[in-house]
Structure formats: structure tokens, C-alpha cells
């Protein structure tokens, strides 16, 4: 007999949401996993062969091309990775593509194909459609890489409920399994990235005190070092060397010599983190190991030196713990769990000032969500604009930091130099994603942007990719998608309509025509495809208009004007 459920009016919606399963995904460089919480226990989801660890590898061109380690390319430009040892060709355009014999593929597409596989494994196991996921990312992923991950999920038809830092997820899994209290250190050395973080666990609250790392250091590097030393089949040799002193003529001691510099770097980053947080290593109750590379005996030996061998928790499965943590956080976010995660941002955010110096607005290891405001003033009389160059990273000079976006403030009332007051606010949400807004205090004029890195995909490309991927999937979310498409298209229409007013190009008439078509589709709002098509057509027609806008921004950038010079 079914039990009668009595709920307050207005709460039924909430209850329905509460039972929707959110899956936890560990989207790794080498392997990916998916897990859920069932009857209070974590369960990794396996495919029909009983396998619950899936290689992060996708085959294209009918199996002729196999792409691996795509996580290293997420959110990167060609310049970022051109000197890296990658097992495939990449295009030298600013926007990074992987080039195969038959096509060009964006890293996000590869990543979304991995996510589609995980989603389908989950759907087969749970016999229900899955729409939402918590996805883990390295703590040291920057804005671009996080946004790229979110986009990949969208392409796989998954809504990312939360991005969780990998070491934090691991700590959550460990803490819940062992009812731990106190300070713990997570040392996470994966295929492509290294993170170390320190957490305080206390009665269901997991507070990250700080994190450090390097998003370009991992097991792939060890493989490459072996390969460069002339070792064939380096990954296999590396893995077996963790359990024997010699494999196929390669001695463990020689391997340790090869990688010792990299390991020393991780140890130095770990020590520095303790110093930053004014903590001592003996305050730590245990060190949680994450990532396959932590099986390397040298790693455990070096960690034993700073923490004491008895603190190194070796009874955990370093390959599965992150996915289990992701599942617990998914469970929390579906309203069922009791735990609270308080995470930090791993990278500082700032603005370029005169002379190319970075003025930090939000400093690393701040608990998120966070907002910080800073006031700027005008440099010249009657200055009506200001340009902000937004940066991420710890270095003092803008050229050494990650450039995230250029943000232009317009419409400052013409006043004497130094009179106008523009308050710029940086806001990081619980995913660690940034929004920048500006307010002119004199007029109360407000502007806001979501920060997207400059080399990121533009809106039309995202839509094209979405469209392609959606045509391949058979979901029944047509209504929701229609509303979403219409909302986005409306925003586009409004912006272009406004820009068109002052536009003098010869193609003005055709843009106006395409705009009208889109507006008609939007008022009908019957076909999502028709809206997207009209929107795409408008996008194409308005290319010059947009280009003109971008050029004017670029021109100012090249002219080297700084925050308060315009």
C-alpha cells in the first residue's frame, strides 16, 4: 500500500525536485566515473560488462582516430598548449581544435562525448532519464576551463548543478565514510593536474581552508618522461613499477630519478600551502590520497617525510574516491543530504592597472560565494568610458596572468578628472564562476557581464554545437528547450537591435530583415528550430556589425590604454 503523503500547499513542486536523481561525475584526464547515493550508500555505476571506470578516450573517424587526455585542453588556447606533448594534432588558430584526418573537433565536444557515455550508463542503471549532474574539476582549473566543462555538459544534455573541486569531493567521501573530525590534507595527483588542499571537517561541515596546485602536472608527464628516455609502453611500465622494483629492464630507481623533480614540486607546493595558512603539518590528522599517480611509492615516501608515514591513508581507492564525493554532493544538492561544503577559490582575480600591474580584488583561498567591490575614478576631464582588463592568477604583472576578459564601462557623466566614482564588483558564485558588474555612483548607472575568456567560443558556435548534439539525442524536453531558446534569442535580438541603430554599414538593411524574421518567430514561439535558425541567420548577417564592435575594443587594447585612460 502506498503511503499517503501530506504536504503544505506550494511545497509539492519542491518535493518533486527533491526526488530527481542528480548523478556525481568524476571527469578525469585519464578515467571518468559516475556514481549515485542509494539507500544512504555510494554506488558506482557500471556498464553491461561490470566496468565502473571508463577511459576518458573517444574514437572518431569511424575508429581511426582516438582522442585521449582532452582535459588538458579544456579552456586552453593554442598558445597555451603548443609546446605540450600531445598525442594528436591541434590547429594553430587561436581557438583550439583537435585535427583528425576527417574533421576538426573542439575539446568540449570530446568531453561531451565522454559525458554522454556516463549519462547513458547512469540511465541504463537507474532506468530513468538523467538531466542533472555534479561534476568535479581540479581546484586549479581556471574560469575558462570551468566554463568549457559546463559547456561540454550542456552539449551532453546535462545541467551542471554544481562544479566541485576534486580534492574537496575526495575529502567529503572520506569524511562521511569515516565520520572524521579535524584537519585533513588531500594530495591529488591525477593524470594531468595536481591539487593539494587542507580541510577542516566538523559535524557535517566540510570547510576548505586553502588549496594550491599546478594544472599542468600529472601522470601524463611521467609517461612522457619515460617515453623520452626511450621506454616503449611507458604507462604500463610506470604502473607496474609501483609494485615491482624492475619491469622490462626499467628499474624503479631510474624512474624515480626521472620524476623526482616533478614530485619535489608537488611537495614544495604542499609545504607552501601550510605556510600560507599558518598551519603546521603535525596539525593534520590524515592525508587523503587521490589520483592513480599517488600509487607511486616515491610519492608516499616523500609525503611520509613531511607528515609521518602513519598519517598517510593508504586504505582508500584513489581512483574512485572523487566520484563518490561527487555523488555525495549531488545527494546534498538534491535536498537529501545533511552536509555542507564550504569551498574556496584557488586563483586570485584582479584588474590591470597602469604599468601592467595587477590589482588583486579577490584573493586566492577566499571562501565562495564572495563579492568584493572596488572604486575607480576617471583620469581625464570629461572622460565617459573606462576599460577594465580582468585577470586571474597570482603573478604581479598582467602579462603573466590569465587574461579573462575586457570589460568596458560606458556612459560615465562628463565630469572633472577624479570626480566620477565607478564601483566595480567582482562576484564569484558557488561554482567559482565570475560575474563583474560596475555602477557609476553619480548617476546610479549599472552594467553587468558574465566573464567569458576572450578566446572562448562565441554564442553562435555554442548554439551550433548544441543544435548538432540535440539533433542526435532523443529527449522529450522540447518545451523547456523552446523556452530556453526563445529567451536567449530574445537577448540577441535586443542587443543587435540596439547596436543597429547607430550602425552605418551597407548591410544594415539585410540585418534589419533578419532581425524582423527572428522577432516574428519569437512572437509565434512555436518552433525551437525555426527560432534557432532565424537566430543563426541573424548572427551570420550581423557578423560585420559584431566585428566592428570587437575591432573597436581591440584597437583600444593595442593602443595600450589602461583602466583610467580612455
Amino acid at each position: 500500500m502506498a503511503l499517503l503523503k501530506i504536504s503544505e500547499p506550494g511545497q509539492s513542486q519542491q518535493n518533486q525536485d527533491a526526488v530527481e536523481t542528480i548523478i556525481g561525475i568524476d571527469l578525469g584526464t585519464t578515467n571518468s566515473l559516475v556514481a549515485i547515493i542509494e539507500n544512504g550508500k555510494a554506488r558506482l555505476l557500471a556498464d553491461e560488462n561490470g566496468c565502473d571506470i571508463f577511459a576518458s578516450v573517444v574514437a572518431y573517424d569511424g575508429g581511426k582516430t582516438v582522442i585521449s587526455s582532452v582535459k588538458r585542453l579544456m579552456g586552453k588556447s593554442f598558445a597555451d598548449v603548443q609546446f605540450e606533448n600531445l598525442p594528436y594534432k591541434i590547429s594553430s588558430e587561436e581557438k583550439l581544435y583537435i585535427v583528425t584526418d576527417e574533421r576538426k573537433i573542439r575539446p568540449e565536444e570530446v568531453s561531451s562525448d565522454i559525458l554522454k557515455k556516463l549519462k547513458s550508463v547512469a540511465e541504463k542503471n537507474l532506468k530513468t532519464e538523467i538531466k542533472k549532474a555534479v561534476i568535479t574539476v581540479p581546484a586549479y582549473f581556471d574560469e575558462a576551463a570551468k566554463n568549457a566543462t559546463k559547456l561540454a555538459a550542456n552539449l551532453a544534455d546535462l545541467e551542471v548543478v554544481r562544479l566541485v573541486n576534486e580534492p574537496t569531493a575526495a575529502a567529503l567521501a572520506y569524511g562521511l565514510d569515516n565520520a572524521s573530525e579535524g584537519l585533513y590534507c588531500v594530495y591529488d595527483l591525477g593524470g594531468g593536474t595536481f591539487d593539494v588542499s587542507i580541510l577542516k571537517m566538523q559535524k557535517g561541515v566540510f570547510k576548505v581552508l586553502g588549496v594550491a596546485g599546478d594544472n599542468h602536472l600529472g601522470g601524463d608527464d611521467f609517461d612522457n618522461l619515460l617515453k623520452n628516455a626511450g621506454v616503449a609502453n611507458p604507462r604500463k611500465i610506470k604502473e607496474e613499477l609501483s609494485f615491482s622494483e624492475e619491469v622490462d629492464g626499467v628499474k624503479r630507481a631510474d624512474f624515480e630519478n626521472l620524476i623526482s623533480e616533478k614530485i619535489t614540486k608537488t611537495i614544495m607546493l604542499t609545504k607552501n600551502l601550510f605556510e600560507d595558512l599558518e598551519l603546521e603539518t603535525f596539525d593534520i590528522k590524515g592525508v587523503i590520497l587521490v589520483g592513480g599517480s599517488t600509487r607511486i611509492p616515491l610519492v608516499r615516501k616523500e609525503l611520509g617525510k613531511i607528515f609521518g608515514a602513519e598519517k598517510i591513508l593508504t586504505n582508500l581507492d584513489p581512483d574512485r574516491i572523487v566520484a563518490i564525493g561527487a555523488a555525495w554532493q549531488a545527494y546534498n544538492l538534491s535536498g537529501q543530504g545533511e552536509n555542507l561544503l564550504l569551498d574556496v577559490t584557488a586563483l586570485s582575480l584582479g584588474i590591470e592597472m597602469m604599468g601592467g600591474i595587477v590589482d588583486k580584488i579577490i584573493s586566492r583561498n577566499s571562501t565562495i560565494p564572495i563579492a568584493k567591490a572596488k572604486e575607480f575614478t576617471t583620469y581625464a576631464d570629461n572622460q565617459t568610458g573606462m576599460k577594465l582588463h580582468i585577470l586571474q592568477g597570482e603573478r604581479e604583472l598582467a602579462k603573466d596572468c590569465r587574461s579573462l576578459a575586457h570589460f568596458e564601462i560606458k556612459g560615465i557623466p562628463p565630469l572633472k578628472a577624479g570626480m566620477a566614482r565607478v564601483q566595480v564588483t567582482f562576484k564569484l558564485d558557488a561554482d567559482g564562476l565570475l560575474t563583474v558588474s560596475a555602477e557609476e555612483k553619480y548617476t546610479g548607472e549599472k552594467q553587468e557581464i558574465m566573464v567569458k575568456p576572450t578566446f572562448h567560443l562565441d554564442q553562435n558556435e555554442i548554439k551550433k554545437m548544441l543544435l548538432e548534439s540535440l539533433q542526435n539525442s532523443q529527449s522529450d524536453m522540447i518545451e523547456r528547450l523552446l523556452v530556453e531558446a526563445a529567451t536567449e534569442a530574445t537577448q540577441d535580438a535586443v542587443i543587435i537591435k540596439k547596436d543597429l541603430e547607430n550602425y552605418l554599414g551597407s548591410d544594415k538593411e539585410i540585418i534589419a530583415q533578419k532581425l524582423k524574421t527572428l522577432e516574428e518567430e519569437l512572437s509565434k514561439k512555436t518552433s525551437r528550430d525555426a527560432i534557432l535558425l532565424a537566430q543563426q541567420e541573424l548572427g551570420k548577417a550581423a557578423e560585420n556589425l559584431v566585428l566592428e564592435k570587437v575591432n573597436s575594443v581591440l584597437h583600444e587594447k593595442i593602443a595600450g590604454k589602461k583602466v583610467d585612460e580612455i
Binding site: E278, Q329, L340, L342, S366, I368, P369, D429
Partner: protein, 157 residues
């Protein structure tokens, strides 16, 4: 200006019960953190994070108490007049750090500066006049800057 002591229902004084503060912080975030709250507005969670950060740190809490009294030594360069001897001392320290290369020596200096900062903060909170408190805190602020410089120097070597 919002008062974080009120937010956490704590007396407006330097000596506060940090355990009590943490307990309330957890309680509030369990209600208002975006993971827990169904509201799209994250401003309350942001405010709680900011308040906790300031109140849980001795130096920031001391500065905040003065800020509530109208002396903002963290953001206003002209809030306190700094005597020449302090500036000179600071310049000498900076020069010393920029030339340091011995790791043990640097570690020694780090410990030394950390305990000096601690002492200055507690002295400042015992001082009778606010101006005197502010002066001691500015000294602590300078030493904290030197600690940052020291870290950068150490990583360069």
C-alpha cells in the same frame, strides 16, 4: 555600514568566543549557502562568509573594530600618520628581505615577524586611545606586507 558583530550576535569587542563564532557561521551557512537555500539570491551567504573571514582573524577583527570607529587603516592610506622611524625601519626590512638567500634565515625571520604581528595586534587592542591602536595596527600591516615579500623572495630562490 553593516555590523558583523551584530550579524553574529556577538559583543563588539576584540575578545570574542571564536568557537561560538564558528558554530553560528556553520548554522547560518547551513541555511543560506547556495547549496542549501532555494533562493537564487546569494548575497546573504556572501555576507556571512565576509563577516566570518573578518571576525575569525585577529588582525582583520582588530582593523574592523577601528573601522567601525571611523579609522580605516586597510583601505585609507591617510587614516593614520606614520612616524618617520617606522617607515625607515620598514624600508630597511624590505631591503634585507630582497637580499636574503639563506632558507633557514628566512624561516627564522618569518617566525619572528609572525610573532611580532601577533604582539602588535594584541597591544593595539589594549591601547587606550584609538589613534594609538591605529598606529600599532599599521605597523602590523607593514609587517604582514613584509611577510608577503618574504614568501615571494623564498619562491624565487
Amino acid at each position: 555600514m553593516k555590523n558583523f558583530f551584530n550579524l553574529f550576535s556577538l559583543p563588539q569587542s576584540f575578545a570574542i568566543d571564536l568557537g561560538e563564532l564558528e558554530k553560528k557561521y556553520h548554522k547560518f551557512q547551513t541555511e543560506f549557502h547556495p547549496d542549501k537555500s532555494s533562493s537564487a539570491d546569494i548575497s546573504k551567504s556572501i555576507e556571512i562568509n565576509e563577516g566570518y573571514k573578518i571576525l575569525s582573524d585577529d588582525f582583520l577583527r582588530a582593523c574592523y573594530i577601528l573601522q567601525l570607529k571611523g579609522i580605516d587603516i586597510l583601505h585609507d592610506e591617510k587614516a593614520v600618520k606614520v612616524d618617520f622611524a617606522t617607515l625607515e625601519e620598514q624600508l630597511e626590512l624590505q631591503e634585507k628581505i630582497s637580499e636574503m638567500s639563506d632558507k633557514n634565515e628566512m624561516e627564522e625571520l618569518r617566525k619572528n615577524l609572525n610573532s611580532k604581528v601577533k604582539a602588535l595586534v594584541s597591544q593595539s587592542m589594549e591601547a587606550q586611545a584609538d589613534e594609538h591602536s591605529a598606529q600599532l595596527l599599521v605597523k602590523a600591516k607593514y609587517l604582514k606586507k613584509s611577510l608577503e615579500d618574504l614568501k615571494i623572495r623564498k619562491n624565487k630562490i
